[in-house]
Subunit: 301 residues, 2 copies
C-alpha cells in the first residue's frame, strides 16, 4: 500500500463540531476535514450518512477502520459507549455502533465517569491518552481549559480523579447575555485587573455573588471600561474555580493543555500561588490519543 493512501480514519466528534482526519499507513493525517455537524445537531441515524458525506470519494472499496472519540458516544449520540470509571487508564477499546456501509469498521471510544463527586468527560480522556503517549511517566495534574475546563489527577498512566468547571460557559453567558454585556461592548484585556480579581476570588470566594453586579455599577458610576470589566469578570470566575480546585494544583506539578489566551490566563492566575504550570500545545493531542487507541485495537498487547 502506498503511504499516501487512506489506511484508517480518526474522528473527534464533539457537541458542536466534528473533525475528521483521513490517515495514511504511517499515521500521518492526509488532511483535516472540519464540519459543524456536531452531536447536538444529529439524530442517531444521521451519524453514518454525515461521515460518508464528509469523506466523499476518499473511501476505498476495502473496509477502513474508523476510530471516534467524543460525544458520538453519548446517550443522544451515534450509539452509547458506557463510561469507564476512575481510577482507570484512558479507554482504548470502543463500542461498535450499527453501520450500513460495509466499508466502515467503526469504533467509538467511551468517556470516563467519576461516581463521587459525580463527574463525566467525553473526549478529554482521548486528549489525556495523547498526552500520555508523549509523557508516559507523568505524575501530576492536567488542566484542560475550555467551555468546561477539566482538572485531572494523573498517576501511573491512570486518571485518578477529575473535576469539571463551567467557568468558560459562565463567562460567555454573563458577558454576552446578562446585564453585564452592556459593560463589555468592546474587546480588550487588562492584565493587572485580571490578577487582582483572581486574588480577590481566591481569598474571599464568598464574595463572587456580590462582585458580579458591582461590575455593572462600577461601569455606570466610575466609567470602568470594557477591557477592565472583561478582565475582572474572567478573573473573578477563574479565581472562584481555583479556590474550588485547590487540591488539584496546590503543591502539584501542573500541565495546562493549550497555548491560547485562555490557557495563558490560567497560567497567569496560578503563578502568584506558587505554581509554575507548563503550557503544552494541545494541537494534535486528540489525534495522538486516537492513534494510540487505533494501534491498541490493531495490535492488542
Amino acid at each position: 500500500m502506498p503511504t499516501d493512501a487512506l489506511s484508517w480514519i480518526a474522528v473527534d466528534w464533539g457537541t458542536s463540531r466534528l473533525r475528521v482526519w483521513p490517515m495514511d499507513a504511517d499515521d500521518r493525517p492526509l488532511e483535516l476535514i472540519e464540519s459543524d455537524k456536531g452531536m447536538s445537531r444529529l439524530t442517531p441515524d444521521a451519524f453514518e450518512p454525515t461521515l460518508l458525506d464528509l469523506l466523499g470519494n476518499r473511501l476505498p472499496d476495502t473496509t477502513v477502520p474508523v476510530m471516534i472519540c467524543g460525544m458520538a458516544g453519548a446517550r443522544q449520540g451515534w450509539a452509547e459507549a458506557p463510561y469507564a470509571a476512575v481510577p482507570c487508564e484512558p479507554p482504548v477499546r470502543g463500542i461498535r455502533p450499527p453501520v450500513q456501509d460495509a466499508r466502515l469498521s467503526v469504533q467509538i471510544l467511551p468517556g470516563v465517569q467519576q461516581d463521587r463527586p459525580a463527574d463525566v468527560m467525553r473526549g478529554e480522556e482521548t486528549q489525556i491518552a495523547g498526552f500520555l503517549v508523549q509523557e508516559p511517566r507523568f505524575d501530576g495534574v492536567l488542566c484542560l481549559p475550555g467551555t468546561h475546563t477539566k482538572w485531572a489527577h494523573i498517576s501511573a498512566r491512570e486518571i485518578v480523579s477529575f473535576r469539571t468547571f463551567m467557568t468558560g460557559e459562565l463567562f460567555a453567558l454573563l458577558s454576552s447575555q446578562s446585564v453585564l454585556r452592556h459593560t463589555m461592548t468592546e474587546d480588550g484585556w487588562d492584565a493587572e485587573v485580571f490578577a487582582s480579581a483572581v486574588s480577590d476570588s481566591l481569598s474571599r470566594p464568598a464574595g463572587l455573588a456580590a462582585s458580579l453586579f458591582t461590575l455593572r455599577a462600577d461601569a455606570l458610576l466610575h466609567g470602568t471600561g470594557s477591557a477592565a470589566s472583561r478582565a475582572r469578570l474572567s478573573g473573578l470566575l477563574i479565581g472562584a474555580e481555583l479556590a474550588a480546585a485547590r487540591p488539584y494544583w496546590l503543591g502539584q506539578e501542573v500541565v495546562i493543555l493549550g497555548e491560547d489566551a485562555l490557557a495563558t490566563a490560567y497560567a497567569t492566575a496560578l503563578e502568584p500561588q506558587g505554581v509554575q504550570p507548563r503550557l503544552l500545545p494541545a494541537g494534535d493531542i486528540t489525534l495522538a490519543g486516537l492513534t494510540a487507541a487505533y494501534h491498541q485495537m490493531k495490535d492488542p498487547t
Copy 2:
C-alpha cells in the same frame, strides 16, 4: 372634581415592562395599564408617545401630573435623573424631561447609588419609599427578591447601604441556556434538596464553582430528576448570595418584600440561620411610593 375622574398618573417604567396607573383625587388607582414597552425597547423620544398611546382618550384637557420611577430615568431612558447617594431617604423630587404635549407635567424620580462597593438601584428606592409609608419607624434590612435581588439596610427613614445580587439572572441563564438546561426540562421543586444546597453553599461558598457541573453529571450518572436539579441549582445560588450578604441578615430584623415562590425561597433559606424574616405583600408598594412622592411634590413640607 368627581372622585372617579383622573387626577394624576403613576408610572413604574422598568427595563422590560411598564405599568401605568391613572389615579383619582383620593389616590385610588382607576385602573392598571400594563405594557411590554420597557426602557430597553425605546429611544428617548419614544417615551412620551408611548405614554400618550397607552393613555388613549383618558387624558383631560387640563395639565395632569405624571410621577414616574424606574429605568425611564436611566442614561438610555427618557431623560437621565442623576442618582441620589446613600445614606439618603428615597428621593421624592424628580427631574422634568422634555415634553411636547402640554397636558403632561412629568417628573422622573432618581435612583440611588452607592460609591463603595459600587451599586445602583432604579425603582427599588420607590418600593422602599412605599414600605416606609407603612412602617416609618422600621430599623432593619429589606430584601427585595427579583432578577437582581437587592438587600438594603434601612434606618431613620434612610437607605444606609445596599447590595445587588444577580442570582435570579444567573439562575435563569444557567437553567435555560447552559448545559444544565438538559437536566431541568420539567418544572417541579424539591424542598429538602433546596435546603441542603443552601447549607452547602453557606458553609463552603468556594464549592459553588465545582458544584454546577456536578448537577449535570448527577443527572447522567444517578438519574437526578428535574425537580431536584432545579431546587439544587436555586439553593446553591441563593446560598452563595446569603454567604456574601451575611452582614445584611445576621442578627438583623429582615423583611422580604414579596410573597411569591422566590420570596418564600429566600425565607426558607434564611430560617435555618436563625433569622425569622417577615414576608410582606409587595403588590402595590411601588404605587404607595409613587403616591408619597406625588404628595411631596404637591405639598412640599
